[in-house]
Each structure stands twice: as C-alpha cells, then as structure tokens.
C-alpha cells in the first residue's frame, strides 16, 4: 500500500520527483466486514451480564419453590411477625425522613462549596458504607455506654431526658439511620452536582441570599433526587440487620423488625417462617425498586 497523500500538505520534493499515481492511493472503496467481531462482543458482554441476572432469578425461584402459599399466609398471620412488619415500616420511614433532613443540606454543601477538610468529611461519610455492620452496631453500643467521668450518654438519656435508647425502638431507628443517611447523602450530592449552580448565582445577583437561592432555586429542581434519596435510605434501612441486633437487640413485639425476624425464625429452626418473611421483604424491596425506576433517575446505584 502506498502512503495516502494529504491534499492539504504542500508538495514536497519527493512528491515532485514521484507524482502520486491515481491507482493505489485512490482505492478507498468501502469493504464490509463479516460482523463476527460484533457477535463476539455481544456474546461475551451479554453472557457475563446474564450470569448475574440468572443468579438473582434462581435465588428468588428457590425461595418461592421452598415455601407454599399456605406457609406464607400462616407466617404472616403470626402476631409477632405482624408486629415486626409494623415496626419495620415505622422505623424505616422515620430513618428515611431523618436521613433526608440531614442529607439534603449536607449533599448541597458538598456539591457547592470547597472548604478545607472537605476530602476528610467526604471520607467520613463513606465510613458507614464500608464498615462491617456488626462493628457499626458495637460502636453505637459503646458510644452510648462509655463513661466520661461520671457521665454516660445512655444514663443521661434515661434519667434526665426520660428517653432511653438502647434496646428500644429508637435504637432501631438510629442503627438504620447511621447507614441509610450515608447513602442518602451520596444521592443528594450527585443530585446537586447535576443541577447547574449558575442559576443559583444569577438568583443571588437578583437579590437572593444563599439560603433563598438554595430554597427557591436549587431545592425545587432537586425533588426527584430527594425522592430517590428517600427511597434508597428506606431500602437500606429495610435491609439493616447487624447493628440492630447488637444495639437494639431482637425482643419480640419490642425491637424485632423483619430482618431480625428472619434471623430469629431461622435460629429456632422455623425455616418455613424464615423463608416466608424473606419473601415478604423481597416483595417490599421490589416495590421500592419499582418506585425508583418509576422516578427514572437512574441513580439507584
């Protein structure tokens, strides 16, 4: 093959000596490839992705195959399971709302402002996501019972405030909140990153304070992200188990939530009931995921 001649280049001496022939240089006729490489691409990429989808589907199928509708119904009619269901809904919702209250301003600050130590704050937010759940629960327990001289947080809450936390429902909420808030903050940060800060700048030239620009310009644009963050926080709270077990215990009718129900039923050999509760949680998770999809934010990760 002769080297292609660039028509924009001034002719060189070599070019003068040997003028380009019309033949090989002009032969740029398109040639269709077999398409085999495309096929391999899709088979490899699709095949690997399918493995994971298959795994999840098989897990769900196995659960369904294991239990019967009668078992499922029987388990759900148990008063302790119903109490756990109610407590789960209440605590998850409380944790999600609290998370959103913290995550919206926090995400906004992280997205809009550069301040010294921001990388540190950013890293601290990620800690609950990577920490083993049991460690988080243990840390909460220790924090509430560590004596500072004569003073203990839990004793102070119990005696002076009249609101004991450990081994009660507030402990469930706090354990859920510690993890779900981290996810909500991440989501809100991405949300505000995607909102053009220039609009808030212009609002400030029009007479807004920073607070007014946040409330009147940024927040109305962030509602989708807030719904997504709330849903993610809720779903994380639903799946929370380790910290709840350590920090709130698993007392029937008192601090038992569905994730601890599965563990309790399983540990006393009631596999049917454990699977039935698991399926209930799968159904709840699917509803949450569908809501997320419906919002079309694509920020579920």
């Amino acid at each position: 093959m002769a080297a292609p001649v660039d028509p924009l280049q001034p002719p060189t001496d070599a070019g003068k000596a040997r003028p380009p022939k019309a033949g090989p240089t002009a032969s740029v006729t398109p040639k269709r490839s077999s398409g085999a490489s495309d096929a391999i691409f899709f088979i490899v990429m699709g095949g690997l992705s399918a493995c994971f989808v298959l795994l999840i589907l098989l897990l769900l199928a196995a659960d369904l195959r294991f239990t019967t509708f009668a078992d499922f119904q029987a388990a759900l009619l148990k008063p302790e399971i119903q109490a756990a269901f109610r407590l789960t809904i209440l605590t998850c919702t409380t944790a999600a709302i609290l998370s959103l209250w913290v995550a919206t301003p926090f995400g906004y600050l992280l997205s809009r402002y550069k301040f010294p130590g921001r990388w540190l704050i950013d890293t601290i937010v990620d800690i609950p996501m990577v920490l083993p759940p049991l460690v988080l629960g243990l840390s909460l327990l220790i924090l509430f019972h560590l004596p500072f001289g004569d003073w203990k947080l839990e004793s102070w809450l119990r005696e002076d405030v009249g609101f004991p936390v450990t081994y009660r429902w507030p402990a469930v909420v706090l354990a859920q909140f510690s993890v779900s808030c981290a996810f909500a903050i991440r989501t809100m940060r991405v949300t505000f990153d995607q909102i053009n800060p220039r609009a808030e700048d212009v609002a400030r030239t029009l007479g807004c304070s920073r607070g007014q620009a946040f409330l009147q310009i940024a927040l109305p644009q962030a509602w989708r992200g807030m719904l997504a963050a709330g849903t993610i926080a809720w779903a994380r709270a639903l799946g929370e188990f380790g910290p709840i077990l350590v920090f709130a215990g698993s007392t029937r009718f008192k601090t038992e939530v569905l994730s601890t129900s599965v563990f309790l039923e399983f540990s006393v050999g009631q596999l049917d009931a454990a699977v039935a509760v698991s399926l209930l949680m799968v159904a709840m998770a699917v509803v949450v995921l569908l809501v997320l999809r419906g919002l079309g934010t694509g920020m579920a990760t």
Partner: protein
C-alpha cells in the same frame, strides 16, 4: 457608573492583575478579547460572584468590593443564561420583584411593560425548557432588567442568534440603554456587534501568557457619532 481600580482576580491557575477601567452611567461598553483571557471572570467579579484578591470595585461612586451580589443591584445575563428550570417566563420576570416585596399591581405592570418591550408576552405562562435560543435570551434579559438595576452585565448575550434576530436584539439593547439610562457591560467576540451597540470598546490583550493584561478603552464609531 461602574469602576474597577487595580483589581486583581485569581481564577483557577491564572491570575488577572491590576485591572482598571471605568464605564459612566448611561454608557454602553463592549468588552472584547480572545477566548480565555478572562472576560467572564471580570464580569463575575463585578457582580460579586467571584472574590477579588485586591483592588476596589465601585458602583455609582460607592465601594462595593465586599458587598454580596444581592446588594449590588446589577442585572446579570450569563453566557449560559441559567434560567430557572422550574419556573415559567412570568415567574422569571417577577422573581426579583417578589424578593423585594413589590406590591402586586406594580409587579404586574412591570411584567407587562417588559414582556411587551422584549416581545415575549405570548410566552409568559410557558416553562422555559422548550424556549428557542432567542426567546431564552430575551427572558434572561427581562429577568435582569426586572428590578431596574443600576447597570447591566451581559456575557455574549447574542451569540446564539440568527443575524436577523441579532440585529433586532442589538437595537433593543441599545434602546434599553438609552431609555433606562443604565450602564451596560457587554462581552462580545464580534467586532460588528461591538461597533453596532457600544459607545466605548474595552479591549483586553496579553502579548505573552504570563505578561500583565493590557486594557485599552477606545470610543467606537457609534460612540463618536452620538453624544454620550
């Protein structure tokens, strides 16, 4: 009147040093210079969105160097317009007046006046997402003018327009400048546009990347022709 005295701005890894110029009340100034020389940065500093390292900025003989953007009362139209996606055109025009708690009668009168001037009356109840480039620019201009600012800062406001709309908008800007007596700082890349609208042209040049910025202000043809 807008005046910059020895203003130094740090922006990322470059620095704009000792910028001084003055635009009188009612004067229309074009700011020209190659891309990346810092025109937008200067405009942001004037409206208070960017902190300056040293020097002073005056608006109408008042030193506003350390004032918040809200207090400076400048109408700013950024290059990307930055309209508010959740609001209608009417809400854009009302926004600054609502913040100032203008009574509703006055507000409505002002919206009617502005929308007529900018020819956007039929758009008042529309959201901004589907506006054309020219419509969006007029809305941004209306929003900046709504609270009767002491000066108007325009960052390539006519860049996205076809030539017919552009000419119409140039006349409009000129009218606004004449009728309302506001000083205008108008960034443009277009010599013809600068000549068509401005009284004075402020040119930013820099021979070498690390040399100090040179600023020359010269009356444009239009400026010679009409009394300032």
């Amino acid at each position: 009147m807008i005046e910059l005295r020895n203003v130094t701005i740090r922006a990322g890894n470059y620095r704009l040093e000792k910028i001084s110029f003055r635009v009188e009340a009612g004067q229309y100034a074009a700011i020209m210079g190659v891309t990346g020389i810092g025109k937008t940065t200067i405009l942001e500093a004037v409206c208070g969105l960017r902190r300056i390292e040293s020097g002073n900025i005056f608006i109408g003989d008042i030193d506003v160097t350390h004032w918040s953007p809200a207090d400076r009362k400048l109408g700013y139209v950024p290059q990307d317009l930055a309209l508010f996606p959740t609001m209608t055109v009417r809400e854009h025009l009302e926004f600054a007046m609502r913040l100032r708690r203008t009574v509703s009668q006055q507000r409505e009168a002002r919206v009617a006046e502005l929308s007529k001037l900018l020819n956007i009356t039929p758009l008042l109840n529309r959201k901004v997402a589907k506006l054309s480039g020219g419509e969006a620019q007029r809305v941004a201009l209306g929003r900046a003018l709504s609270f009767q600012p002491s000066a108007l800062l325009l960052d390539e406001p006519l860049s996205a327009l076809d030539s017919a709309t552009r000419t119409a908008m140039q006349e409009l800007l000129r009218d606004v400048n004449r009728q309302m007596g506001v000083a205008v700082l108008h960034i443009t890349h277009n010599e013809q546009e600068a000549a068509a609208v401005s009284d004075v042209c402020i040119r930013l040049t820099r021979v070498q990347p690390h040399e100090a910025l040179q600023i020359t202000a010269a009356p444009t043809r239009r400026g010679y022709g009409e009394p300032g």
